[in-house]
Protein backbone atom coordinates (compact mmCIF):
# COMPACT_ATOMS: atom_id res chain seq x y z
CA UNK A 1 0.00 0.00 0.00
CA UNK A 2 2.97 2.30 0.28
CA UNK A 3 1.32 4.03 3.23
CA UNK A 4 4.54 5.70 4.26
CA UNK A 5 5.06 7.15 0.79
CA UNK A 6 1.49 8.48 0.70
CA UNK A 7 1.82 10.04 4.14
CA UNK A 8 5.04 11.69 3.06
CA UNK A 9 3.38 13.05 -0.08
CA UNK A 10 0.40 14.31 1.96
CA UNK A 11 2.69 16.00 4.47
CA UNK A 12 4.65 17.60 1.62
CA UNK A 13 1.49 18.96 0.00
CA UNK A 14 0.29 20.34 3.34
CA UNK A 15 3.65 21.86 4.17
CA UNK A 16 3.97 23.52 0.76
CA UNK A 17 0.41 24.88 1.12
CA UNK A 18 1.20 26.34 4.55
CA UNK A 19 4.47 27.92 3.42
CA UNK A 20 3.01 29.40 0.23
CA UNK A 21 -0.05 30.65 2.13
CA UNK A 22 2.07 32.41 4.75
CA UNK A 23 4.41 33.93 2.16
CA UNK A 24 1.53 35.14 -0.02
CA UNK A 25 -0.19 36.60 3.04
CA UNK A 26 3.00 38.38 3.98
CA UNK A 27 3.20 39.92 0.52
CA UNK A 28 -0.52 40.69 0.24
CA UNK A 29 -1.92 44.19 0.15
CA UNK A 30 -3.51 45.65 3.29
CA UNK A 31 -7.03 44.80 2.13
CA UNK A 32 -6.20 41.19 1.28
CA UNK A 33 -4.02 40.43 4.25
CA UNK A 34 -5.20 38.42 7.26
CA UNK A 35 -3.62 38.65 10.66
CA UNK A 36 -2.64 35.55 12.57
CA UNK A 37 -4.21 34.57 14.83
CA UNK A 38 -7.68 35.85 14.01
CA UNK A 39 -9.66 37.95 16.45
CA UNK A 40 -13.39 37.40 16.11
CA UNK A 41 -15.77 37.30 19.05
CA UNK A 42 -18.64 34.80 19.28
CA UNK A 43 -17.08 32.64 16.58
CA UNK A 44 -18.88 29.53 17.78
CA UNK A 45 -22.16 31.16 18.76
CA UNK A 46 -24.92 30.28 16.34
CA UNK A 47 -27.72 32.68 15.54
CA UNK A 48 -30.79 31.13 14.01
CA UNK A 49 -32.52 33.18 11.38
CA UNK A 50 -36.28 33.31 11.05
CA UNK A 51 -37.59 30.46 8.89
CA UNK A 52 -39.77 32.79 6.84
CA UNK A 53 -37.04 33.05 4.27
CA UNK A 54 -36.34 36.66 4.96
CA UNK A 55 -32.62 37.13 5.44
CA UNK A 56 -33.23 40.51 7.02
CA UNK A 57 -35.51 39.12 9.69
CA UNK A 58 -34.38 39.49 13.28
CA UNK A 59 -32.25 36.67 14.53
CA UNK A 60 -32.50 34.74 17.72
CA UNK A 61 -29.57 33.31 19.56
CA UNK A 62 -30.06 29.57 19.95
CA UNK A 63 -26.72 28.57 21.36
CA UNK A 64 -24.18 30.46 23.32
CA UNK A 65 -21.02 28.58 24.07
CA UNK A 66 -19.89 31.78 25.68
CA UNK A 67 -21.90 34.91 26.15
CA UNK A 68 -21.02 37.67 23.69
CA UNK A 69 -19.41 39.68 26.38
CA UNK A 70 -17.46 36.70 27.62
CA UNK A 71 -16.25 35.97 24.15
CA UNK A 72 -15.37 39.59 23.83
CA UNK A 73 -12.93 39.20 26.67
CA UNK A 74 -10.90 36.88 24.56
CA UNK A 75 -11.39 38.97 21.49
CA UNK A 76 -10.22 42.19 23.05
CA UNK A 77 -7.70 43.11 20.45
CA UNK A 78 -4.15 44.12 20.93
CA UNK A 79 -5.59 47.61 20.98
CA UNK A 80 -7.52 46.74 24.10
CA UNK A 81 -6.18 46.95 27.60
CA UNK A 82 -9.53 47.34 29.30
CA UNK A 83 -10.99 44.64 31.49
CA UNK A 84 -14.71 44.13 31.30
CA UNK A 85 -17.31 42.29 33.28
CA UNK A 86 -19.21 39.70 31.24
CA UNK A 87 -22.72 40.84 30.51
CA UNK A 88 -25.50 39.66 28.27
CA UNK A 89 -25.77 41.38 24.92
CA UNK A 90 -27.09 42.74 22.66
CA UNK A 91 -28.89 45.59 24.28
CA UNK A 92 -32.29 46.93 23.41
CA UNK A 93 -32.52 50.06 21.26
CA UNK A 94 -32.92 53.26 23.14
CA UNK A 95 -34.03 56.77 22.33
CA UNK A 96 -37.41 57.91 21.19
CA UNK A 97 -36.89 57.12 17.55
CA UNK A 98 -35.39 53.78 18.38
CA UNK A 99 -38.39 52.90 20.48
CA UNK A 100 -40.76 53.81 17.70
CA UNK A 101 -38.70 51.90 15.19
CA UNK A 102 -38.76 48.86 17.44
CA UNK A 103 -42.51 48.88 17.59
CA UNK A 104 -42.77 49.15 13.81
CA UNK A 105 -39.55 47.69 12.45
CA UNK A 106 -40.72 47.37 8.86
CA UNK A 107 -41.68 51.00 8.54
CA UNK A 108 -39.30 52.98 6.34
CA UNK A 109 -40.53 56.49 6.78
CA UNK A 110 -38.78 59.31 4.98
CA UNK A 111 -36.33 61.02 7.26
CA UNK A 112 -35.28 64.60 7.25
CA UNK A 113 -31.54 64.88 6.73
CA UNK A 114 -31.48 68.55 7.64
CA UNK A 115 -29.14 69.48 10.46
CA UNK A 116 -30.34 68.34 13.84
CA UNK A 117 -32.11 70.84 16.00
CA UNK A 118 -29.84 72.68 18.43
CA UNK A 119 -31.68 71.01 21.29
CA UNK A 120 -30.55 67.53 20.20
CA UNK A 121 -27.65 66.37 22.30
CA UNK A 122 -26.34 62.99 21.10
CA UNK A 123 -24.73 62.15 24.44
CA UNK A 124 -27.91 62.99 26.35
CA UNK A 125 -30.06 61.00 23.92
CA UNK A 126 -27.62 58.09 23.80
CA UNK A 127 -25.71 57.95 27.08
CA UNK A 128 -22.71 55.60 27.44
CA UNK A 129 -23.50 51.95 28.22
CA UNK A 130 -20.34 50.48 29.74
CA UNK A 131 -22.14 47.25 30.64
CA UNK A 132 -22.77 46.15 27.05
CA UNK A 133 -20.81 46.31 23.81
CA UNK A 134 -23.46 47.95 21.68
CA UNK A 135 -26.97 49.27 21.37
CA UNK A 136 -28.90 48.83 18.14
CA UNK A 137 -30.46 51.92 16.61
CA UNK A 138 -32.91 52.55 13.79
CA UNK A 139 -32.41 54.49 10.58
CA UNK A 140 -34.19 57.50 12.06
CA UNK A 141 -31.79 57.61 14.98
CA UNK A 142 -28.86 57.16 12.60
CA UNK A 143 -30.05 60.12 10.54
CA UNK A 144 -30.38 62.33 13.62
CA UNK A 145 -26.95 61.34 14.86
CA UNK A 146 -25.43 61.90 11.42
CA UNK A 147 -26.95 65.35 11.28
CA UNK A 148 -25.52 66.04 14.72
CA UNK A 149 -22.03 65.21 13.51
CA UNK A 150 -21.58 61.91 15.34
CA UNK A 151 -18.79 59.84 13.72
CA UNK A 152 -19.87 56.89 11.55
CA UNK A 153 -17.71 53.80 11.08
CA UNK A 154 -18.23 51.52 8.10
CA UNK A 155 -17.51 47.91 9.14
CA UNK A 156 -17.83 46.48 5.62
CA UNK A 157 -14.88 45.58 3.40
CA UNK A 158 -12.92 48.52 2.03
CA UNK A 159 -13.97 47.61 -1.51
CA UNK A 160 -17.64 47.96 -0.52
CA UNK A 161 -16.83 51.24 1.26
CA UNK A 162 -15.27 52.63 -1.89
CA UNK A 163 -18.33 51.74 -3.94
CA UNK A 164 -20.50 53.83 -1.63
CA UNK A 165 -20.70 54.77 2.03
CA UNK A 166 -22.45 57.11 4.44
CA UNK A 167 -21.02 60.58 3.88
CA UNK A 168 -18.30 61.23 6.44
CA UNK A 169 -17.97 57.58 7.47
CA UNK A 170 -14.58 55.95 7.94
CA UNK A 171 -13.73 52.42 6.80
CA UNK A 172 -12.91 50.03 9.67
CA UNK A 173 -13.38 46.52 8.31
CA UNK A 174 -13.10 43.81 10.93
CA UNK A 175 -11.95 41.39 8.24
CA UNK A 176 -8.87 43.34 7.22
CA UNK A 177 -5.51 43.17 8.91
CA UNK A 178 -5.27 46.84 9.87
CA UNK A 179 -8.39 46.93 12.04
CA UNK A 180 -6.39 47.12 15.26
CA UNK A 181 -4.36 50.06 13.94
CA UNK A 182 -7.57 51.88 13.05
CA UNK A 183 -9.07 51.20 16.48
CA UNK A 184 -5.86 52.42 18.12
CA UNK A 185 -6.00 55.60 16.03
CA UNK A 186 -9.59 56.10 17.11
CA UNK A 187 -8.61 55.85 20.78
CA UNK A 188 -6.49 58.95 20.38
CA UNK A 189 -9.20 60.89 18.56
CA UNK A 190 -12.49 59.95 20.14
CA UNK A 191 -13.80 60.19 23.67
CA UNK A 192 -14.93 56.67 24.57
CA UNK A 193 -18.13 58.02 26.13
CA UNK A 194 -19.33 59.82 23.02
CA UNK A 195 -21.54 57.97 20.56
CA UNK A 196 -20.09 56.12 17.59
CA UNK A 197 -22.41 54.82 14.89
CA UNK A 198 -21.34 51.54 13.29
CA UNK A 199 -22.95 50.02 10.27
CA UNK A 200 -22.54 47.31 7.68
CA UNK A 201 -24.96 45.83 5.15
CA UNK A 202 -28.00 45.33 7.39
CA UNK A 203 -29.94 42.07 7.30
CA UNK A 204 -27.89 39.33 8.89
CA UNK A 205 -24.62 41.22 8.49
CA UNK A 206 -22.72 41.05 11.76
CA UNK A 207 -19.62 43.03 10.88
CA UNK A 208 -20.80 46.13 12.76
CA UNK A 209 -21.55 43.99 15.83
CA UNK A 210 -18.09 42.43 15.64
CA UNK A 211 -16.55 45.89 15.36
CA UNK A 212 -18.62 47.05 18.34
CA UNK A 213 -17.27 44.17 20.42
CA UNK A 214 -13.76 45.13 19.44
CA UNK A 215 -14.31 48.83 20.21
CA UNK A 216 -15.95 47.96 23.52
CA UNK A 217 -12.88 45.95 24.43
CA UNK A 218 -10.79 49.02 23.61
CA UNK A 219 -12.79 51.21 25.98
CA UNK A 220 -15.51 52.66 23.76
CA UNK A 221 -18.68 52.59 25.81
CA UNK A 222 -21.16 54.15 23.44
CA UNK A 223 -21.26 52.02 20.30
CA UNK A 224 -24.50 52.37 18.38
CA UNK A 225 -25.06 49.71 15.75
CA UNK A 226 -27.21 50.94 12.89
CA UNK A 227 -29.26 47.77 12.61
CA UNK A 228 -30.46 48.05 9.00
CA UNK A 229 -27.16 49.41 7.75
CA UNK A 230 -26.14 50.95 4.48
CA UNK A 231 -28.98 49.59 2.29
CA UNK A 232 -31.47 51.26 4.63
CA UNK A 233 -29.46 54.48 4.55
CA UNK A 234 -29.62 54.51 0.75
CA UNK A 235 -33.36 53.73 0.78
CA UNK A 236 -33.93 56.64 3.10
CA UNK A 237 -32.04 58.98 0.80
CA UNK A 238 -29.15 59.65 3.16
CA UNK A 239 -26.00 61.37 1.94
CA UNK A 240 -23.68 58.92 0.21
CA UNK A 241 -20.09 59.30 -0.95
CA UNK A 242 -17.92 57.04 -3.08
CA UNK A 243 -14.18 56.48 -3.13
CA UNK A 244 -11.59 56.18 -0.41
CA UNK A 245 -12.25 59.46 1.35
CA UNK A 246 -14.93 59.83 4.05
Amino acid sequence: MNVRRHLLEAATLLLVAVVVALVSNGLASRERKLKLPGDYPNATTVTKAAPAGDSSAPEQAVKAESSPATAQQGSASSASKVNREPTPAPAKPRGAAAASAESAPSRKSPVSFSPASPAFDPVAAFPPHPDKPYVEISGEDAARLHAAGVPFLDARRTSAFEEGHVAGARPVSVWESDVDEKVLALIGEQDGKKPLVLYCSGGDCEDSHLLAQKLWGAGFNNNLVYRDGFPDWVRRGGAVRTGTNP
Partner: protein
Protein backbone atom coordinates in the same frame (compact mmCIF):
# COMPACT_ATOMS: atom_id res chain seq x y z
CA UNK B 1 -20.09 -7.12 -12.76
CA UNK B 2 -16.65 -7.91 -14.11
CA UNK B 3 -17.11 -5.53 -17.00
CA UNK B 4 -18.25 -2.81 -14.56
CA UNK B 5 -15.11 -3.35 -12.50
CA UNK B 6 -12.99 -3.28 -15.63
CA UNK B 7 -14.72 -0.07 -16.69
CA UNK B 8 -14.15 1.58 -13.32
CA UNK B 9 -10.48 0.60 -13.44
CA UNK B 10 -9.94 1.83 -16.97
CA UNK B 11 -7.19 4.36 -17.45
CA UNK B 12 -9.33 6.29 -19.92
CA UNK B 13 -12.01 6.94 -17.28
CA UNK B 14 -9.59 7.52 -14.43
CA UNK B 15 -7.62 10.14 -16.34
CA UNK B 16 -10.77 12.07 -17.17
CA UNK B 17 -12.12 11.87 -13.63
CA UNK B 18 -8.78 13.06 -12.27
CA UNK B 19 -8.70 16.02 -14.64
CA UNK B 20 -12.34 16.94 -13.94
CA UNK B 21 -11.90 16.74 -10.17
CA UNK B 22 -8.58 18.59 -10.33
CA UNK B 23 -10.02 21.42 -12.43
CA UNK B 24 -13.01 21.66 -10.11
CA UNK B 25 -10.80 22.18 -7.08
CA UNK B 26 -8.54 24.61 -8.93
CA UNK B 27 -11.67 26.57 -9.83
CA UNK B 28 -12.82 26.44 -6.21
CA UNK B 29 -9.46 27.68 -4.92
CA UNK B 30 -9.05 30.74 -7.15
CA UNK B 31 -11.79 33.02 -5.69
CA UNK B 32 -10.59 32.17 -2.18
CA UNK B 33 -7.00 33.01 -3.09
CA UNK B 34 -8.14 36.30 -4.59
CA UNK B 35 -9.92 37.43 -1.42
CA UNK B 36 -8.77 35.70 1.78
CA UNK B 37 -10.67 38.04 4.17
CA UNK B 38 -13.98 37.18 2.50
CA UNK B 39 -13.16 33.49 2.74
CA UNK B 40 -12.29 33.98 6.43
CA UNK B 41 -15.73 35.54 6.82
CA UNK B 42 -17.28 32.46 5.20
CA UNK B 43 -15.39 30.15 7.57
CA UNK B 44 -16.46 32.31 10.52
CA UNK B 45 -20.09 31.93 9.42
CA UNK B 46 -19.83 28.16 9.88
CA UNK B 47 -19.40 28.83 13.62
CA UNK B 48 -17.23 25.79 14.12
CA UNK B 49 -13.82 27.27 14.88
CA UNK B 50 -12.77 29.58 17.71
CA UNK B 51 -12.15 33.15 16.55
CA UNK B 52 -8.40 32.79 16.83
CA UNK B 53 -8.36 29.83 14.43
CA UNK B 54 -10.50 31.25 11.63
CA UNK B 55 -7.77 32.93 9.59
CA UNK B 56 -5.29 30.07 9.30
CA UNK B 57 -7.56 27.73 7.30
CA UNK B 58 -8.73 30.74 5.28
CA UNK B 59 -5.13 31.17 4.14
CA UNK B 60 -4.03 27.55 3.82
CA UNK B 61 -7.10 25.72 2.53
CA UNK B 62 -7.23 27.44 -0.90
CA UNK B 63 -3.55 26.69 -1.55
CA UNK B 64 -4.09 23.11 -0.41
CA UNK B 65 -7.03 22.73 -2.79
CA UNK B 66 -5.01 24.29 -5.59
CA UNK B 67 -2.00 22.03 -5.05
CA UNK B 68 -4.11 18.88 -4.85
CA UNK B 69 -6.07 19.97 -7.93
CA UNK B 70 -2.90 20.64 -9.91
CA UNK B 71 -1.46 17.30 -8.79
CA UNK B 72 -4.55 15.49 -10.07
CA UNK B 73 -4.56 17.33 -13.40
CA UNK B 74 -0.87 16.63 -13.95
CA UNK B 75 -1.13 13.08 -12.68
CA UNK B 76 1.47 13.62 -9.97
CA UNK B 77 0.86 11.92 -6.62
CA UNK B 78 -2.69 11.46 -7.87
CA UNK B 79 -3.67 8.82 -5.34
CA UNK B 80 -2.54 10.94 -2.41
CA UNK B 81 -4.12 14.07 -3.87
CA UNK B 82 -7.43 12.28 -4.43
CA UNK B 83 -7.41 10.90 -0.89
CA UNK B 84 -6.73 14.36 0.55
CA UNK B 85 -9.51 15.92 -1.49
CA UNK B 86 -11.78 13.11 -0.33
CA UNK B 87 -10.90 13.96 3.24
CA UNK B 88 -11.68 17.62 2.57
CA UNK B 89 -15.03 16.68 1.04
CA UNK B 90 -15.90 14.62 4.12
CA UNK B 91 -15.05 17.63 6.29
CA UNK B 92 -17.17 19.92 4.09
CA UNK B 93 -20.14 17.54 4.29
CA UNK B 94 -19.76 17.29 8.07
CA UNK B 95 -19.51 21.08 8.47
CA UNK B 96 -22.58 21.67 6.30
CA UNK B 97 -24.45 18.85 8.04
CA UNK B 98 -23.77 20.30 11.48
CA UNK B 99 -25.03 23.70 10.37
CA UNK B 100 -28.09 22.23 8.67
CA UNK B 101 -28.87 20.37 11.89
CA UNK B 102 -28.68 23.54 13.95
CA UNK B 103 -30.48 25.69 11.39
CA UNK B 104 -27.59 28.02 10.72
CA UNK B 105 -28.29 29.16 7.16
CA UNK B 106 -24.97 30.05 5.54
CA UNK B 107 -23.43 30.38 2.13
CA UNK B 108 -21.04 27.50 1.63
CA UNK B 109 -18.17 29.59 0.26
CA UNK B 110 -17.24 26.73 -2.03
CA UNK B 111 -16.84 28.54 -5.35
CA UNK B 112 -17.71 32.11 -4.45
CA UNK B 113 -16.72 33.99 -1.34
CA UNK B 114 -19.02 36.97 -1.86
CA UNK B 115 -22.29 37.23 0.00
CA UNK B 116 -24.94 36.50 -2.61
CA UNK B 117 -27.66 38.08 -0.47
CA UNK B 118 -29.84 34.97 -0.52
CA UNK B 119 -32.76 34.38 1.81
CA UNK B 120 -32.60 31.88 4.66
CA UNK B 121 -34.73 29.39 2.73
CA UNK B 122 -32.53 29.68 -0.36
CA UNK B 123 -29.41 29.19 1.71
CA UNK B 124 -30.75 26.10 3.45
CA UNK B 125 -31.75 24.67 0.08
CA UNK B 126 -28.30 25.43 -1.34
CA UNK B 127 -26.66 23.77 1.66
CA UNK B 128 -28.62 20.56 1.08
CA UNK B 129 -27.73 20.61 -2.61
CA UNK B 130 -24.08 21.19 -1.75
CA UNK B 131 -24.06 18.16 0.54
CA UNK B 132 -25.45 16.07 -2.32
CA UNK B 133 -22.89 17.51 -4.74
CA UNK B 134 -20.05 16.76 -2.34
CA UNK B 135 -21.26 13.19 -1.94
CA UNK B 136 -21.20 12.93 -5.74
CA UNK B 137 -17.64 14.27 -5.77
CA UNK B 138 -16.73 11.67 -3.14
CA UNK B 139 -17.86 9.03 -5.62
CA UNK B 140 -15.33 10.45 -8.12
CA UNK B 141 -12.63 10.29 -5.44
CA UNK B 142 -13.60 6.69 -4.74
CA UNK B 143 -13.27 5.84 -8.43
CA UNK B 144 -9.76 7.29 -8.56
CA UNK B 145 -8.71 5.43 -5.41
CA UNK B 146 -10.25 2.21 -6.69
CA UNK B 147 -8.62 2.44 -10.09
CA UNK B 148 -5.19 3.60 -8.97
CA UNK B 149 -4.72 0.81 -6.45
CA UNK B 150 -4.04 -1.44 -9.45
CA UNK B 151 -1.42 0.97 -10.80
CA UNK B 152 0.48 1.28 -7.53
CA UNK B 153 4.19 0.51 -7.78
CA UNK B 154 5.15 -2.34 -5.44
CA UNK B 155 6.20 -1.34 -1.94
CA UNK B 156 9.92 -1.40 -1.25
CA UNK B 157 9.55 -0.84 2.47
CA UNK B 158 10.53 -4.40 3.34
CA UNK B 159 12.98 -4.91 0.56
CA UNK B 160 10.50 -6.79 -1.60
Amino acid sequence: MTSLRRGLRSEWLTTRVQIALGLLFIGAALPKLADPPSFAHMIYNYRLLPGGLVNLPALVLPWFELLCGVALVLGIWNRTAAALLGLLLVLFVAALGVNLARGNAIECGCFDVRDAGKSVTERLHDMRMTVLRDVGLLALVAQILYATQYHEPPSTEHGV
